[in-house]
Structure formats: structure tokens, C-alpha cells
Symmetry: C2
Subunit: 389 residues, 2 copies
């Protein structure tokens, strides 16, 4: 091994702890096996009818046909756009990373909720960002608190944040949905204080109850929102296809940073064919049924086996944010659950700075209702042991 001179961002290795084989995985937002669609027809079309397109480099912005399908898909989210405002990326995380590359210098601030999405924290850290954290209630990020903090920073002459990141629908990990009023307010704050909003919205279509709230992007009258979408939660993660929707000036800058020879034309063509065959919409209906049943199993199991926990019932998405009594250390509990063969995330992973220590993120997407009941029963036993110790 050489004597490497790493850049600051790579000085410490993060490490990738895989779960031990056989562990019941309620950590990651993976796709549930039996709801994965059979895409062999679309894959064959891509390989045969579209061979010279699908096997070639695609332009950096993505296939025109796919960008047109995406424009049509997001229209029902109140996002009025053309293909010129859309760039295809290799999943939503790639879109977040490109937004960072366009805006962040080391030390620049990003506004996030605390807690927030684990991988987004890692991406912001890889850009050596610092964080301005804002709490949430049942209506999402406390935008009045944010405004207060920004006004204070401005009054003190401090550098203001460059980006704001949020998962407005069925927040990861908290499950809450940001109210329409606060979405509108965020856009006003972005205009007033000069930051750009990254709206990461993977779970929007996985709504089990209640009415859609307009996207943040739909309030954007000034080009201050980058909407990040993905096919991972509506078709399959394995395609690695997401998109960013933003002002063409921002798309051009992000495209400059996307020096990757374009996203796979092959998987892009498959997704076009899935859209055209109305298979995406059908698959979403199926997913909502299945994930809704998983959620019920999860909420029932938590009530039964972990009655001391406080839960806010999520109206969609993949996660339940479990608040444990004060004094319980979620890292100790997660480790105890792992010894019982059950993987859950300690909530401490979801805080970019000082974490609250008594939360767990449990994910119901990858495991069956039966496995959920078994897993939460084990988690409950681990909890009871911890309490009595």
C-alpha cells in the first residue's frame, strides 16, 4: 500500500458495514422482491428495436423521449416544464451530488432538517459542507425558525447558506409531509436569502391516504428549486435512473459537472417503454397496495411489541420514525436487535450534527408483513432486555 496523500474529503474512510448474511433488513429503503416488475419485454425492445440508440452513448441530458415522458409524469405534480429543464441522472443521489458540485465550496452551509436522509448527509460531507439544521413538527420543517435563523445570520453579516435540502413528502426518516403553506414559504425564503432548494421527492407517489400537497417546485416562480426525482421507488432501483428539473441555466451547469458519458441509454429506453405502456402507473398502484399493507403490519407490530415507543403514523413512503423513552440509547438498541438478527438504523445516523439519541428509523419496504412482525417482536425483546438491564 502506497503512502497516499488524500484530499481532505477523503482523509477518513467512512467504511461500508454490510449487514451479516441472513439479517432481516429493516435498514435500507430497498425494493420488495415480489413487487418487482417483469421488464423483459421492454428490455428486449431496448435491445432490438432501439439497438443503435440503447447501446450508444446518450447525450449528457438524457434521451429526448425519456425527458418528454418525465415532463408528462411530473405535470400532475404541478410541475410545468419541457425537456430543456430536465436532465436524466443515475438516481436521485446523483442529482443531489450534482447540485452540490454546482454550488458548494468547502465550508458552505446547507440547510437540512434534523433528522434528515442519511445518504444526503454523506454527500454533503463529501463536499465538506457545514450544516444549518432546522427542527420539524407534524407539518415538516419549521420554516419560521429557519427564517429567524437566517435573519440573525444576515444581521451578523455571516455567509448565508447556499442550498436547502428537504424530502417534503413522507420525509426520510421522520415520515412527515411538509405543509403547502411552508412549501410556499420556503420558496419565498430562497428568493429573499439567495439559496437554492433541492426538493428530493422519491416517495410522493407512494401515498396511502390523504390528499397530495403541491410540490415545492410548483411554487417556484424564480428558478430557485431543483426538483430531484427517481424511478427507484416507482419502478426499480436497479435501473439507476433519476432526474433533475430546474432552470435551464442550472441544468447546463449540472450537465457540465456530469462528465460521465451520459446515463445508460439502455436503461433509459427501458423506462421510456415502461412509461409508454402505462406500466409505471400500474406498478405504482400495486406498490401502494403492498407498501400500505407493510405499513399496517409495521404500525401494528410496533404497538404490540414496542408499546413504549411514540409513533407518528406516516401517510406514505417507506419509513417509521420511532421515538423511544428518554434515556434509551438507540445505538445500543440497534446493536442488540442486530444480535437478534434484525437490522434497524439508529436514528443518530440521521443527524448531521449533535444527534438525538432515542430514535430509530425502521423501514418496511424490503420485508414482508410476516417478517415485519417477527422483526419488531425481536426488537421489542431487545428493548425489554435493555430496560431491565
Amino acid at each position: 500500500m502506497g503512502n497516499y496523500h488524500f484530499a481532505n474529503r477523503a482523509k477518513s474512510a467512512r467504511g461500508h458495514k454490510a449487514l451479516p448474511p441472513g439479517t432481516l433488513n429493516m435498514c435500507g429503503g430497498l425494493a420488495f422482491g415480489s413487487t418487482m416488475p417483469d421488464i423483459s419485454r421492454e428490455a428486449t425492445e431496448a435491445a432490438q428495436s432501439f439497438r443503435t440508440e440503447s447501446l450508444q452513448y446518450s447525450g449528457v441530458l438524457g434521451l429526448n423521449d425519456l425527458r418528454d415522458e418525465i415532463a408528462a409524469y411530473v405535470a400532475s405534480d404541478g410541475i410545468v416544464c419541457t425537456r430543456d429543464e430536465i436532465m436524466v441522472v443515475n438516481g436521485a443521489k446523483h442529482g443531489i451530488d450534482l447540485a452540490c458540485r454546482v454550488f458548494l465550496e468547502p465550508g458552505d452551509q446547507v440547510v437540512v432538517t434534523a433528522p434528515t436522509y442519511i445518504t444526503a448527509i454523506a454527500i454533503f460531507r463529501s463536499h465538506e459542507a457545514s450544516f444549518l439544521t432546522v427542527e420539524q413538527d407534524g407539518d415538516g420543517m419549521l420554516t419560521d425558525d429557519l427564517e429567524h435563523k437566517l435573519r440573525e445570520m444576515e444581521a451578523r453579516g455571516e455567509r448565508l447558506p447556499k442550498l436547502l435540502y428537504d424530502v417534503p413528502d413522507f420525509h426520510n426518516p421522520s415520515g412527515v409531509t411538509l405543509s403547502a403553506e411552508r412549501r410556499h414559504k420556503l420558496v419565498e425564503l430562497a428568493k429573499r436569502f439567495g439559496f437554492v432548494i433541492v426538493e428530493d421527492d422519491p416517495y410522493r407517489r407512494i401515498r396511502f391516504e390523504g390528499a397530495d400537497v403541491p410540490t415545492i417546485k410548483s411554487f417556484d416562480d424564480a428558478g430557485v428549486v431543483i426538483s430531484v426525482g427517481t424511478s427507484s421507488k416507482i419502478v426499480a432501483p436497479g435501473l439507476r435512473l433519476g432526474w433533475t428539473i430546474a432552470d435551464p441555466a442550472l441544468i447546463a451547469r449540472m450537465a457540465d459537472q456530469k462528465a460521465d458519458g451520459g446515463t445508460s441509454a439502455f436503461t433509459q429506453r427501458i423506462l421510456v417503454q415502461l412509461f409508454r405502456g402505462n406500466r409505471v402507473a400500474c406498478h405504482i398502484d400495486e406498490l401502494k397496495q403492498t407498501m400500505g399493507a407493510h405499513r399496517e403490519a409495521m404500525l401494528g407490530a410496533l404497538a404490540r411489541f414496542l408499546p413504549a415507543a411514540r409513533i407518528r403514523r406516516p401517510h406514505g413512503g417507506y419509513f417509521v420514525w420511532v421515538e423511544l423513552p428518554e434515556g434509551i440509547d438507540s445505538e445500543v438498541l440497534a446493536a442488540a436487535a442486530l444480535r437478534r438478527g434484525v437490522g434497524v438504523h439508529s436514528g443518530t445516523l440521521c443527524y448531521p450534527e449533535e444527534p438525538r439519541r432515542n430514535f430509530l428509523r425502521v423501514c418496511y419496504s424490503f420485508v414482508s408483513p410476516e417478517q415485519i412482525v417477527h422483526g419488531i417482536a425481536q426488537l421489542g425483546k431487545a428493548y425489554d432486555e435493555l430496560r431491565s438491564a
Copy 2:
């Protein structure tokens, strides 16, 4: 449009000039349509037999099966490695970018040949790198010159380069192949002066004549070489699959920077099946035949229509580096050719710093022999007009 506060790396937009429709494209190293393989069988296998793997997230390092196939594939290049030294990436460019993320701070130096690969320059620029350029002769990079420069920098107490980038086989754009002696020397220099070599080797298997030269990685006894490979030139660019091979400590650092949810498991599985069915090796044989014929057409057309040009016959790869008489401005000539419907790259694009102005890069991969003859005839007319003007 907002009043955006871009990071330094994104302050100026690069712009993506697409060729006008109908242009004969001898610019980019695209795949030739009629040699693209029919991968519908492998795609169907990925979609059906491997559904719950191919549609799921893959680990950040890639599928074990693919990493094992890659290890077997590179063994004939003298690269002895296991899957633990391999990370799958979204094409070679992605591997170059990850190496930059691990090593480069703004202002750090990268050693490159002048000329070098256009997109690599863009990637290094996006990391705000500076360049230490080294000339080439028929045996590739002048490593004695490099050593001399490094010794002088060291004597002056200057910061030494962090990375060295080269395309050792059938260099892009110059077409030359780095000699074995110089490859060995590069590894010695890397050890002596503390830099890491990024060996970008997309064209190695597309050899028309002569014997293979050992890879730089095969001389690496100290973990100082990151070997970057791709399926783009041996199967198809549309899969967007490449790999990096390096010391596990480096792979771990690059994996930390690859916050993309893993590369597409779907296209990875397709490539595994292509390897297992011996289809990659067969396809390479076909490509060598076809690209060899394209090269002959190109060399013949250049001799006939552009006799004033000096050419070094490439023994493989996709490019011919065309030296024009002094005083010819390649940008003016490329623009004149474009008006005649023919796209070629001005060689000035291939220099990170002060360019030599009398070179063109012509690519024979994407166009048929007939188109090559037609295109070079038009280029010759543009040249003759320029001379007589």
C-alpha cells in the same frame, strides 16, 4: 432565472455544442452501429432469472459476479487481483472522477501528456486542478522529461503532483503506445515522488497489429496505480459500465465518494451474462476486424485527400492524430469542414494549456469506410481552400 451563487468550478458554463443534424461524425469515439451486439438474450436473463438482483440496488462496489468476471478478464493483461481490488463504476470517466475526488484539492497538479483526452481535461478542470504537461514521441510520454521536471520541482520545494493520467495503449488522441520500459519507469517515478497513476485503458483490446505491451498496473508493486477499464469499447457504451482496479485502501476511499446507490445491477448482470457466454471475446474479435478496416480506410483517405498531413499509423484504437503544416489553424479548418458537413475535432481541444494549433483528431469508429472516404475528401477540399485563401 435566479441570481445564483455558483461554486468556483461552475462559474463559467462549458456549453455542449451538438453537431448539426446530418453531420458526418468523426469527432467522438462512438460505437459503430452495425457492430453493436444483440444483447436481448442476456437482457431477458437479467430481467427474469435474476430479477430480484438486477432490479435491486447493487452494493457500491458492484456485483460480486461481475467483479469476478473482470478479475478474470484483466488477468491476461498481467493484472493479478481479486474482487476486493475492483469497484464497478458508470464508465471509465466516472472512475477518473472518483480518483480526482479522492486525491485532488483545488490547485493540485495532475501530470498529463500534451495532447491528452479531451474529457479527462474537463474532469480535472471540474476539480480545479492545474496541469504538468509532458510531451510524447512514438513511444509515448517522455518519462525522462517528466523525471527532470519533478526533480526540479522538488529542488525548488514546490508541491509535487498528486496524480498522473495517461492512456497508454493507442493513446487518445495521438494513437501512440507507451513502451514497456517507460511504463516501468512511471511506476518508479510514482513511488519516488508520491503520486498515483490513473491508467485509462479503453482501447487495449482493439489492437490491429503488433504485440501487447504489459499494462502499467502489471508493474505496480506498491499500490500506486489505479487501472480504469470500460465495457464501452468491447461491448457497448450504452451499458455505462466501467471498473477501477486498485489497492483495497484506495477502492474503499473511492467507494466513499461514489454515493450513487451503486451502479445499475441490471446492466451489470447483462455484462456478467455476456462474459459467461464468451460473447465479449467474440465481440472483440469482430470489432478488431471492423475497426481495422475503418483505420485502413482512414489512412488511405488521408494519404489521398490530405497529402500534406503527417500521420503516425496507429496500431489500434479509434483515432488518427493529424499533423498539418505549420501555419494552418486547426480550428479554422475544423469549422470549414463542418460547413461541408464533416465533424472533426480541432487538436486544440486536447491541450490543457497552450495548444499546438496545427493538429486534428479524426475518429474512425462511428463512420463506415465509405463515409470516411467521403468525409476526408471534404476535409481535403476544406484544407485546399484554406491554403489557397
